[in-house]
């Protein structure tokens, strides 16, 4: 039997910014990925399934953008262990 891979190889680091960080009460958390990785859409579905604030804030039609490894991503962008996935509310700089 082979050893289980270290956590860093199977866990995604999920980052919540600005209003979403306050709504969820967490700035970042590790999220276990299935073997073989996942996609942005699947991660969002996993978070939405927590219900409550999660399903409300991440409901379809809410203007939440996703960045993977600090680049804007789309629903089909793949994510793997060790990646950083960030949830960004609509930006208001300048």
């Amino acid at each position: 039997m082979r050893d289980a891979p270290p956590d860093s190889l199977t866990r995604l680091n999920v980052v919540y910014l600005a209003r979403l960080r306050e709504a969820f009460g967490v700035a970042a958390e590790p999220l276990q990925l299935p073997e073989g990785g996942s996609t942005v859409a699947e991660v969002l579905a996993q978070l939405r399934a927590r219900g409550g604030t999660w399903s409300a804030e991440l409901a379809a039609g809410r203007a939440v953008r996703v960045a993977v490894n600090q680049a804007m991503a789309t629903p089909d962008t793949p994510v793997r262990g060790g990646d950083e996935l960030a949830l960004l509310p609509p930006i208001t700089g300048g």
Partner: protein, 158 residues
């Protein structure tokens, strides 16, 4: 292509002098400064707190500056964006562009601000008499950025 995110204030004359130092090709310098207003959406604003996504912010700003330099006939560009707690009349953001002629410098400066507003991960939270609230994104900012997409590469403006 200097890009900086900082809590400290900036001095526009110092920044412009540094950007065009010794470059005798420069015949036009365009700049824009965004400042904190004391009212937004009909409420008095006492403080504005800016946060960002460290790492991605710098990459996004560098990408925007690269695109401006590719689209417009300019020599150099500078973006300085402040984060942290600011008060009305404080400076928030500085964009400076140098070029041979004013038209490209003006256009690139406006382009940089329009893209920064919609692509660089900054968020504003304001304190009003009713408490704190996150500033809502404006559709007019999306429209301003979209005009440049419609204009396409090499065009002179919206």
């Amino acid at each position: 292509m200097p890009v900086r995110v900082q809590t400290a204030d900036f001095d526009v004359s110092h920044e412009i002098a540094a950007l065009r130092a010794g470059d005798a090709r420069v015949g036009a310098v365009a700049s824009f400064i965004g400042t904190v207003r004391d009212v937004n959406d009909a409420a008095a604003v006492s403080t504005l707190t800016l946060e960002h996504y460290p790492g991605m912010t710098e990459k996004a700003l560098e990408a925007i500056v690269s695109e401006a330099r590719a689209r417009f006939d300019v020599y150099d560009a500078l973006v300085v964006h402040r984060v942290g707690e600011l008060a009305p009349t404080d400076q928030i953001v500085l964009v400076v562009v140098t070029g041979a002629h004013r038209e490209a410098a003006f256009d690139a400066c406006r382009f940089l601000m329009d893209y920064l507003k919609t692509r660089a991960p900054f968020w504003k939270k304001e304190r009003t008499p009713d408490g704190t609230r996150w500033v809502e994104a404006r559709a007019s900012d999306d429209e301003a950025a979209a005009r440049w997409q419609a204009a396409g590469a090499g065009d002179t403006g919206p």
